[in-house]
Amino acid sequence: MRDTAEIVLGLLPPDVKYGDIRVIRRTHEQVLVELDGPGEVNYDDSLGLGLRVLIDGQWGFAATHRLDPQGLDAVVAQAVGQARATGGGGHVVLGTPVTTRDTWSSPMDVDPFTVPLSTKLDLLAATVKEAATAGPLVQQIEASMDFYRDEKVFANTEGALIEQTLTESGGGLMVNAGDGNDVQRRSFPQGVPRQIRGQRGDFATAGFEHVLSLGLVENAARVAAEAVELLSAPQCPDEVTTLVAGSNQLAMVLHECAGHPMEADRALGTEASLAGGTYATPERRGNFRWGTPIVSAYADATIPGALGSFKYDDEGTPSQRTQLVKDGIFLGYMSSREYAGALGLESTGQARADGWQRLPLVRMTNICLEPGESSLAEMIDGTKRGILVDINRGFSIDDQRMNFRFQTEIGWEIKDGKVGRMLKNCTYQSDTPTFWGSLDALGGPSEWRVHGVPSCNKGEPLQVAHVGHGTVPGRFRNVQVGR
């Protein structure tokens, strides 16, 4: 792979002012056990390269699975042809050259690709068996685990040559219960959007030890019983009330309200026609009140084991921590070299691509809340009337990342400081600054944890990124909940 990268750079014509290449092999193993089947196993292996060139300020990009000499010649011709077809006149500024030469592998205790398949199947089968104890209203159970390994070589015309190996592991459980009139779902440890098969649960840049730490078997019966109980639970009331959100739920709200809006390419209008624009426009930087003064948020790709962590991004920029919100004020952007340059800044190291075949985009890494001084128990204790919700089930947000509606898998009444009846179909809606401006309590450091989400979508062609969110529970006053 390293030789391939160097050969391709050597083929670039002189008018290429900047070029970089990523040669990547991605290995993915997925193991799935369902209620009525023996299980499924899937092995994916993908090897290819992506070449990006800058000619007269215009990008050209080409990607290919063909690594033979003819394939390499063709990919150079395609990338250069794309850039030249524009006829020049581009204004891309890349900032400080990247010249790093390094080799790095993400840490892990147990290499998941060396763990016997039988061990994985046994763990998932035991999880399904436990979940099935919830009775005949359980219609569907899926327990799965996924493992990824990305071996990446990055090289550029500025002299950089970086070899990174990232290993990611995750797993989870999904239970659907139905009684003919209603269908309810519970997931563990966290929800997944829509009907994604496999790739469920919580993920980390770690080895098999992460899957063992999830407690899938230990939680399966409870989770399935909750799915059944939800069928007969009362509907979430339609009212303005206090909302206490678990850290898992806040992960997704933070993702949509801070993560995507504070990507610099979106702020500069390049995603406006696709995923949308943002309220976090450059003139609002440093003066837009995003939330109450107790809330601060940051992006941090250096958190050990978090799913959005790495040592270098897909332009060779080192991982780092970037403050996004400080004391409730919108403060900064995530960026790549190009979009930092457009803002007169240096890259914050968030150029990431979904594999060799795609252009790097500005992508969130680990978007985190700084913990507060409260706790979930104290928040509930201090709530006379409200609802407690957790585990995201679905959501939608407008193209400026303002007006949103979230639905959770499960909720409970809070009355006079106590958790009461289970509630189903809990939804809440607000807009970003109003919602975060109603925050009056955040959990403390002991409740802070990172949730690994492997399904962040962006771009054209669509790219899926693996990201993390470090969050705590939070309490929000005067939120519209219900249908």
């Binding site: 290919t64 794309q82 016997p116 696709l274």
Partner: protein, 440 residues
Amino acid sequence: MSINQSDVEQALAILGAGTRLDILGENADLLRYAESEITAQHSERRLRVRARINRNGRSVAGSLETLDPVAVRALADRLQAALGELPPGTSEAAPAADHSAATPDIPAASSVLESDPAVRHQWFKTVRDGLDSAAMLGGAIRYDVLDRVVADSTGLFRAETLTKASIQAIAKQDGKSASVRIMHRDADQIPVSEIPDRLREALRPLPQVEAHHGTCRVLLKPQAANALIATYGYAVLGANAYATGRSAVSGRLGEKVASELITLVDDGCDPDGLPSGFDAEGNVRRRTPLLENGVLVGVVSDQRRAGLTGGVPTGHAVPDGWRFGGDPVPSHLLLEAGESTEDELLAECGSGLVVNRLDYLRVLHPKETLVTGTTRDATYWAEDGKIVGWHPQMRFTFRMEDVMNAVIGVGAVRERCDQTFMESVVVPSLLIDAGPLTLP
């Protein structure tokens, strides 16, 4: 066709009995632009070889980017080892596949096969230069050539080459935006020169009206109706969801589930859509009536759920590892046109909302068909059948079943649309009676 049949047969021989190959040669060329400037030109070539082996109720799968025999042999060894680890299957086996039907002939378009980045650049210039100087243009132009092969160890071999060109153009001016999205299998059939006029007309100066609260009639233009019909089809009209009781229409075949103005079919070979002839299992896509004058008459199936469709799959198996799930879902929806012109629909709407695009429509509760989403780009308010102003963007949360029952007018002109989870959706405008769509 860039996939060699002898390479496929060699791979099948290596992988052995019970193997099915689903192979995609993907060639994508893309021009992206924003703020009236080109931001990237993108060329992607890849070969995705998906192999699935089914033996004795056990199933394993894997994928590669090559048909090289050495790599295929390594995958075969790995899959064989995995099969040995799996317990025997207990679920009901799918019926034996009948592949006697001929592979439909879907012609590829030379305008896309002979892709040239200069053509896309010219399209961009045509649209940008046709707009007012104060307008900013964003979007993407994309050409796709997809070589498909589905083959198995029983002798099945189906192959096709699909072409698609598309342009998305969003113009922003004075704080307002309007969008056009056009696609066709033949790039020469896309009326690029008409796009600036459409955008300028949509961005015409109108006053901003106050947000309406409560219910009113809503005219969903084709791009907005696309989101509704596609999401409804995905959530409701698949055989597995129907058979397991998770669909809102489970058990209601033969019953009225929508307005009598609604007639909906799935037809992968209809040239009004973006044709493709067979599914990921190699089943030929059959024209499948779904709703006839509002009555549920069918669902779509794959081999496992063929029992629900007369023992023959309708050709709606999804690829292994598809990110939107493993159950059969509609792929090429066509909603029958009505007789109303756009002006007649607007007149019948009277005072109400005109929605050009529904965005981020997400299912909150599939059994109840409860969804939420927002309007995007040009949203207008009409008074007495005339558009009188821009209405603020707004969020809808509604039951799709209620809206499907409240259709009181269907346009005569259909547009070809798509979704990330559906290959093509051909729909006219829909006029929705006051009631199910409430403006908060």
